[in-house]
């Protein structure tokens, strides 16, 4: 669908009003922020319209025009509102100059089917703007937390110093609090002690069972699958309640072992799902070939089957790890003060006195999840590649 449609320059009567309308919207916000929305609309429309006309009809050189607009509006912004003004100005300048030329040259039509009516073209781009807004909704919370964690004040919003990019507005003090607080460090330690043990349990049991489940003839396969998947389906609060009642009956409530067992149970469905998915593409003739050449089942498993399903096992393990590392409801009930994990500490912090240290912790956790996400994605690709290579 590249350059399906021949593009042509558009008349002034089309693009100048459109750019002016966009300018009016921008002007509305700037205007209301400064006291008068109506003035903002008028001024915005006039400036944007004039700019579009000026660039396309008088300057004509696109590259020069766009650079000049960006720089000039940025400088105006700087004198009006300092460094934040500079950045906003540059963004506005870049956008409006690009928008003018985009419309003027008719480039917006280049990538859409030639038979679309103007209304359909408008909808096409409106739809993209809507999707962009939803993506922003998805990602904003994470993006807001990161800069706020460098806040020098104990506020949960951007201070004027931060907005003006004053170095004094930023500090690592919340990170320092996190690394110096015995509460937080104890919680990290507990999380590190619990999550790997739970992961180990669920991965070792789960992989074996997944291999069993992917054999050709398994009696009660559906029922067994339903039981093994159930920890993922049953609401956490119900699992937590049941485990609290039952574990206190058998003396596991409030012990390290109890929390590990509970977390292992919660992680098992993820291991089962990922490993069985990997095994779907596993070529059984490989194990037969290994057996044919004299390998015993254990050797076959470790030398032939395991290396091939390893990506699935590792990503299942990562899921199980994340489940345990993030889990708070069950540990809240099954654990006692001695098993206070990182999420638990965050939960108490959020519920009682919310301190910005939480934002520093959150940022660190986001960094960890980005790493894990990358690993899982790489493993998935590798697994697909391996599967593609083996004859199905």
């Amino acid at each position: 669908m590249v350059a399906l449609t021949p593009i042509s320059r558009k008349p002034v009567s089309f693009y100048v009003p459109v750019v002016a309308a966009a300018g009016a919207i921008a002007g509305l916000f700037v205007g209301t922020a400064n006291g008068s929305g109506f003035m903002g609309v008028i001024v915005g429309a006039i400036i944007a319209g004039a700019l579009a006309f000026l660039l396309t009809q008088i300057v004509k050189n696109e590259k020069l025009g766009r650079w000049a607009t960006t720089v000039i509006v940025a400088i105006v912004g700087y004198f009006a509102a300092g460094i934040p003004g500079l950045i906003i100005g540059a963004a506005f300048g870049w956008f409006f100059s690009w928008f003018s030329f985009w419309l003027y040259e008719g480039r917006y039509r280049a990538r859409v089917a030639p038979y679309l009516t103007p209304g359909q073209v408008l909808w096409h781009f409106a739809f993209r703007v809507i999707c962009g807004a939803i993506f922003i909704f998805l990602i904003t919370p994470i993006l807001v937390v990161m800069p706020l964690s460098f806040n020098a004040e104990n506020f949960f919003t951007f201070t004027p110093e931060m907005l003006s990019f004053d170095p004094a507005g930023y500090s690592l003090k919340h990170y320092r609090d996190f690394f110096n607080s015995s509460d937080w460090q104890g919680a990290v330690l507990n999380s590190i002690k619990i999550a790997p043990a739970a992961t180990f349990l669920s991965v070792s049991f789960g992989t074996l069972a997944a291999i069993g489940l992917s054999q050709q003839h398994v009696p009660f396969r559906r029922a067994i699958m339903a039981i093994l998947i159930s920890p993922m389906i049953v609401p956490l609060i119900i699992s937590a309640a049941g485990m609290y009642f039952f574990y206190s009956r058998v003396g596991l409530q409030g012990t390290y072992l109890g929390v590990v067992l509970a977390h292992a149970a919660l992680g098992i469905p993820f291991v089962i799902i990922t490993v069985t998915a990997t095994l779907v593409g596993f070529d059984r003739s490989l194990t037969r070939a290994a057996a044919n050449m004299g390998a015993n089942p254990v050797t076959t498993f470790f030398r032939v089957q395991m290396p091939l399903i390893l990506p699935g096992v590792i990503s299942g393990g990562l899921f199980a790890f994340i489940t345990s590392f993030d889990e708070v409801v069950v540990v809240l009930f099954v654990g006692s003060a001695g098993q206070k994990t990182l999420p638990w500490q965050m939960f108490t912090g959020l519920r009682e006195q919310i301190s910005p240290t939480i934002l520093a912790v959150a940022t660190i956790l986001v960094a960890i999840s980005i790493c894990l996400l990358t690993v899982v994605e790489l493993l998935r690709r590798r697994s697909e590649r391996l599967r593609g290579m083996s004859p199905a």
Binding site: P141, I142, F155, G212, L261, A264, L350, L365
Partner: protein, 565 residues
Amino acid sequence: MSDANNATTAPNSALAAERAEDEYTGPMLAADGTPLKRSLNRALRRQKISALLLIAPLLIFVLVTFIAPIADMLFRSVENQIVQDTLPRTTTELKNWDSEGGELPDQTVYKSLYQDIYVAQERKLHTRLGSRLNYELTGASSLFRKSGRGVDDIGEVYQDQFEDLNAFWKKGENWNDVLGSDAWLAAMNDWKKASGDAQPPFEMRDGIADILPQTADYYSIFADFVQNEDEDNLYKEDPWPLIYSAFYDDLTGPTAEQVATYAGPGATELAEAAAAAPSFATVDYMDAFADIDKDWVELPIWQTIATYSPKFTNGYFLNAVDMQKTPDGPALRPEDERIYWTLFKRTLFMSVCITLSCILLGYPIGWILANLPARTANLLMILVLLPFWTSLLVRTSAWKVMLQQQGVINDTLVWLGVVADDSRLALINNQTGTIIAMTHILLPFMILPLYSVMKTVPPSYLRAAKSLGATNWTAFWRVYFPQSVPGIGAGSILVFILSIGYYITPEIVGGRTGTFISNRIAYHISSSLNWGLAAALGAILLAVVLGLYYAYDKIVGIDNVKLGG
């Protein structure tokens, strides 16, 4: 035919082939001469067993660590042994009482109540029963606490009279001499507390149970309590006042004549007590309890005890749906006490809202991901997966920070002039906050199934529809949308299941009006300690979720759950 046979009998195929070709006409045989069918069956069985053996450890693990707790919870939602265990005699006596007759129970019931509460308060169990019954009848908790303190006085009436009659009855040693067996007394004599050995367990003297049945009964309870729970020296311990009232009952009751047959230690004192007892001042148990608290001479507490005396009850479930047990059977609670129905309705309503907003936001994203070139789609997919992989608490704290009155969203809106500084929006601690935050948290669970379904819809269908003259909308609504419905179904059920049982996010951003049923369950487990009600609420929630899960399995198939795209 012979080819197939050869393949299965590789080791000595020459022989088998020969046999198959020449003389053998019966069922096909395997290499070792067994019929092929049986041999195959055996191989199949072995395969099944080895598969099961591989699954077994995990299955057992999940059954023990997960299914057993759920079963325990379900059991707790109907279990009600505490009333019968704490008040065994009273509940037996109450069986003959007509709870709807409008009459109070008779003296025997009050007497057993006294005995039960006395034993219970020594074991410190009466307050637990009190708080259990308090869920059904407000005030029961303080009533039982008061009665626990009051019952001492009732028994002391007899204790004082026996002790006044003869100081013999004051001493624990004497009681033990009368009631304990000779062997036990001897063993007790040799036992030294300092030695660290276990105390010789109390043994009743032969025949004493016939002479003083009730005394013997309570004395063994007392002995068991002193030896095993208090771990005191039984021999030196003075008996409870309860023993004295039982003693009085024995001496004046139907077994009074038997006393004369006794010839062991303290026989003279016993005969003297038997002679004096009929002239003792007696206790009116009903009045005594009325003195403790006048609630005891009113009907509600008795009706409550009678209703909750069976071992199993549906009372917790009735409570969970805003009903209560009454003498006329289950009935709805008064209008202003119906909190759970409101809560269930709210949970369902908010889950539906969250599911709908997830569909609304997820559909365009699924569409655009499925229709963009693979490279761009993969890049945008990261924006979906990053929140999915980010810790739930991180996202919840982000929303808490953003939605606050002084938070980022309100600040931005004020700066833009959309809202005035003094009328900042209340976005947190209400339903709005919960819906916004949970929509964000659950959105990836909608997008991923939608995306995987939409990817399978060929784009040529839409183009074909348009070339046949359909408008944009018709082409979408009549051609594309029906094919994406499975994705909507899968995503909706997933989001709905997840949201209906959510706890953390509503707890943090929900405030008072934005909480779910799960928050109430947590409250009953950790604060009000009404575990039975928590279990009943949990059982109802579990039933709803399992129903949806079943639907999901039917529609999508649990094997098709995909993680991370």
